[in-house]
């Protein structure tokens, strides 16, 4: 399963990168969303998949799945949500102020450096 996941992660990263390289702000933000999914799955896969039961002591199993990647990912999910929300509002405000969401048009002028 880990090998399948490696390819799934690779494809997620690939799509994310392609989206982030496009001009539209919305597509860039969608790209960051995909990128964080990929990163989360990568962390989870690195820890090994299905190595035991759910990490709840109440299960009283002989082995548990590694809880550390899960703790890391939980933090990461929340942070990436914060970033996404921030970006979205930034894109919205940028459009309202500047009238475009095309990053090529959002470049600083030559004279304004």
């Amino acid at each position: 399963m880990e090998i399948v996941m490696a390819f799934v992660i690779g494809i997620l990263f690939m799509s994310a990168t392609y989206l982030m390289l496009s001009k539209s702000l919305l597509r860039i933000i969608i790209g960051t969303g995909l990128l964080s999914h990929g990163a989360h799955l990568l962390i989870l896969t690195m820890g090994g998949l299905k190595r035991g039961t759910v990490p709840l002591l109440g299960e009283e199993a002989s082995s548990y799945t590694d809880p550390i990647p899960q703790a890391l990912i939980l933090t990461a999910i929340v942070i990436s949500f914060g970033v996404t929300a921030f970006f979205l509002v930034l894109a919205y405000r940028a459009y309202k102020e500047l009238g475009t969401d095309n990053t090529e048009r959002l470049r600083g002028n030559e004279g304004n450096d």
Partner: protein, 798 residues
């Protein structure tokens, strides 16, 4: 921490309190709070004379970075003490002078005195540190404080120009000196000067010896404004005059001379040292004095004069180094050249300091420093005039002032160069006395210009901004003290010889017992005739100055070093601007391309170099039906996002991928993740849709055309991540630390959900910071939505 360290650091400590004192006591001139410190330090250092005059040294050490061999070693020996006395002595006088020079209500006195104190402390650090790294640190500190002081009147363009110029040149030299220091460390394994001197003979054959020598000399030459680096000093004259008197004539510019003197025992065995130091010195001497004559600004004359005098001291030091090559008979003589250097160093500080203050008075009382506007001030400022006479005559080398004595010693040194028979001096050495003599003629001329064009001749009141009158007494005290030193030392030079000069010589030329005795009358020797010749030709040329001034027009203006500096600076700015513009083009896409390309490059190289790619199918979990289904869903979802045109579809697909990922979490035994992901994904999609509602409709121009570079980079990133994921699974360098949590979750934190316990207990701070990040994001979002004043104004202006 000894009293000595405290003395070095005390100016820094006082500097902290100056702004407070300035605010608290607005009615008192801040200078009065500063003045006691240099006086106290001066008397403290005076007490060391009894120790150093018996050729003893005091060393106090405080560990600073012991692991790197850097200790703050404060060492007082003859040479360091001479400088320390100059720094604190002239410092006291300059502070006193500045109290009257800088008006209390007009100038930003708090910053001025902070800068001045920073400089004083840094300079003391330079001359009293035995560790080269500490010395270098203080050295750069002097460059910074000099920069700040030159740019004190930062609203003037010339001040900013001069500040930047001095900074660029001296810091360039400083960096090269650091290189030299490191080379010395590589050769000797020590940063301590005394230890390096002990190994001087051993390292002289090292291939790094010459590079180290050149690097160190670059530092010294830039700092001491030696040709061709002298160009910063005249522009540094934009600083307030007390600063010019202090930094740019008496102390900081002599740091280079200090360094050369300090390093003489290390490098003097090399002929190149003699040639470079003496050669650059004599060229600077000539060039400075020659250029001083054509200046019309009083301070510019003094600046070039300082350049020239520094060159003179430098050349004497260079020749003095020859003493380390000879037996006892010649020693005494070349030692005398060094003695002349030390003596003149002291004399120069006295007469040049007083002259700067005199020029400051003239500037202050008349509003101009242009000699074409000045003249006939003798009747208005009799005391200032007298002081000017004493200073300039000493500078010109006339008896009975101290400048005469050191100039005679200088001539003696130059004449004896011709007798040297090492390092090709027998062929080229003849040039030294000739250049020295010509330069002395020019020195005489500009000295006369300085005093007579200002104080005699026709009084031109219509050209002056103010009606001239004698300066207040407070302003005159400092130059009077210095001028009286000029006379006293002129008559009784030997009060210095055993207390100051001889111990300093001991530091420059160790183990050479040199008897220093300075006398007025040497008999009818060539030196005397040289002086008489200087005076005769000098008077003649001074009187006929208008006739031969054209000489200065011969030099094409395009070929000056200033031009070279300016155009060089411009070219560098232009080129770097161009270079930066090629890659910093303002397009976020380009930046992301750089980031991703670098990401691929660095990871691929690392994997290739470390041979890290392994593929291990053992210890692998089974593939279930549902998992394959989910994997397919993620793959199809994420790839189709790339090709859909509608934003709505893209957002829905992103949501679909997100929900699939949360199902993955369910299958991979991570219920907490699944729950969180479900909630977050729902909110995210809602947010996306909200945002989508406000964003512009799809127009033709926004069609997503396929781009090859983007595709290549994306595929590269995907591939490298896959490789990493595979290798990460196959390589297990460490065992997981999960066992610890399994065992301790209940006993330590009384919780049964391991993931939760890790988040809120074991790694509680992580969660705290996570919340902080969310708060910051929330604040940012709030600000962006609510605060739109600036934006509206902008739109209205359009």
């Amino acid at each position: 921490m000894s009293l000595l360290h405290l003395a070095i650091l005390s100016p820094f400590l006082l500097a902290i309190f100056i702004p407070i004192l300035y605010k608290l006591f607005r009615k008192v001139h801040t200078g009065w709070f500063v003045l006691p410190l240099p006086i106290l330090l001066f008397s403290y250092f005076l007490s060391f004379i009894s120790i150093t005059s018996t050729h003893q040294t005091i060393t106090e050490s405080v560990p600073w970075i012991p692991a790197l061999g850097v200790d703050f070693i404060a060492k007082v020996d003859g040479l360091g003490l001479l400088f320390a006395l100059l720094i604190t002595g002239i410092g006291s006088l300059v502070v006193l002078y500045s109290i009257y020079y800088l008006a209390k209500d007009k100038e930003k006195l708090n910053t001025f005195y902070v800068y001045l104190l920073l400089f004083m402390g840094a300079m003391l650090g330079v001359v009293l540190s035995d560790n080269l790294i500490v010395l270098y640190t203080f050295w750069e500190f002097t460059s910074f404080s000099s920069f700040l002081l030159i740019g004190f009147w930062y609203d003037r363009e010339k001040s900013r120009y001069g500040a930047q110029k001095s900074m660029l040149i001296t810091v360039f030299g400083g960096l090269s000196m650091l290189g030299g220091i490191i080379l010395l460390y590589i050769m000797t394994g020590s940063f301590n000067i005394s230890e390096i001197i002990d190994q001087a003979a051993a390292i002289s054959t090292s291939p790094l010896f010459i590079p180290a020598l050149v690097c160190i000399l670059l530092g010294a030459f830039t700092k001491s404004a030696q040709f061709p680096f002298h160009i910063w000093l005249p522009d540094a004259m934009e600083a307030p005059t007390p600063v010019s008197a202090y930094l740019h004539s008496a102390t900081m510019v002599k740091a280079g001379i200090y360094l050369v003197a300090r390093m003489t025992p290390v490098f003097a065995s090399e002929g190149l040292w003699l040639w470079l130091v003496a050669g650059f010195g004599i060229v600077t001497l000539f060039w400075g004095s020659f250029n001083a004559v054509k200046q019309t600004d009083l301070k510019a004359i003094l600046a070039f004069s300082t350049v020239s005098q520094l060159g003179m001291i430098m050349s004497l030091l260079g020749l003095g180094a020859a003493a380390l090559h000879f037996d006892d008979i010649d020693n005494s003589f070349f030692g005398a050249a060094t003695a002349a250097a030390v003596f003149h160093l002291f004399n120069h500080a006295t007469f040049k300091g007083s002259l700067f203050m005199v020029v400051g008075i003239v500037d202050h009382e008349t509003g101009t420093r242009d000699i074409r506007k000045l003249g006939g001030l003798m009747n208005f400022m009799p005391i200032t005039f007298t002081l000017a006479i004493i200073g300039t005559f000493s500078m010109a080398g006339l008896p009975p002032f101290n400048g005469f004595l050191s100039k005679e010693m200088f001539f003696t040194g130059m004449i004896r160069v011709t007798e040297l028979n090492i390092f090709n001096f027998e062929t080229w050495g003849m040039l030294f006395p000739v250049i020295a003599w010509i330069a002395s003629v020019f020195t005489f001329i500009y000295s006369m210009i300085l005093v007579f064009k200002t104080f005699t001749g026709k009084y031109q009141p219509e050209k002056l901004e103010k009606k001239p009158h004698e300066a207040p007494m407070g302003m005159l005290i400092s130059p009077i003290v210095l001028a009286s030193l000029v006379i006293i030392i002129g008559f009784f030079p030997n009060i210095l010889s055993n207390s100051i000069i001889s111990p300093a010589l001991e530091s420059i030329l160790p183990n050479n017992d040199i008897d220093v005795h300075i006398s007025f009358w040497h008999g009818f020797k060539p030196e005397l005739f040289m002086t008489i010749g200087v005076i005769a030709l000098g008077i003649l040329l001074f009187l006929t100055l208008p006739k031969w001034r054209k000489v200065y027009n011969i030099f094409p203006k395009k070929l000056t070093f200033n031009r070279l500096y300016d155009s060089g600076l411009e070219m560098i700015q232009h080129a770097s601007n161009k270079l930066t513009k090629t890659y910093m083009n303002g397009s976020i896409r380009s930046y992301l391309v750089y980031i991703f390309a670098f990401f691929i490059f660095i990871l691929a190289t690392t994997i290739a170099v470390k041979n890290a790619f392994t593929f291990d199918t053992s210890n692998i979990s089974s593939i279930g039906f549902y998992e394959v289904l989910l994997a397919l869903a993620v793959v199809i979802g994420s790839i189709s996002i790339l090709f859909v045109k509608s934003r709505m579809t893209a957002i829905i697909l992103l949501g679909a991928v997100g929900y699939t990922v949360s199902l993955f979490y369910v299958l991979f035994r991570a219920p907490d993740l699944a729950l969180t992901q479900l909630v977050i994904e729902t909110i995210s999609v809602a947010l996306f849709l909200l945002c989508f509602y406000h964003l512009p409709k799809n127009r033709n121009e926004e069609r997503n055309r396929f781009k090859l570079t983007n595709a290549i980079i994306s595929i590269g990133v995907g591939a490298i991540v896959t490789v990493i994921a595979l290798s990460a699974h196959s390589n297990k360098v460490f065992d997981s630390i999960a066992e610890y949590y399994v065992e301790n979750t209940y006993t330590e934190a009384a919780g049964k959900n391991m993931v939760n316990v890790i988040l809120v207990d074991f790694r509680g701070f992580d969660t705290l910071f996570e919340i902080t990040v969310l708060t910051i994001a929330a604040l940012g979002i709030f600000a962006m939505i609510k605060l739109r004043m600036g934006g509206k104004k902008k739109n209205e202006n359009k």
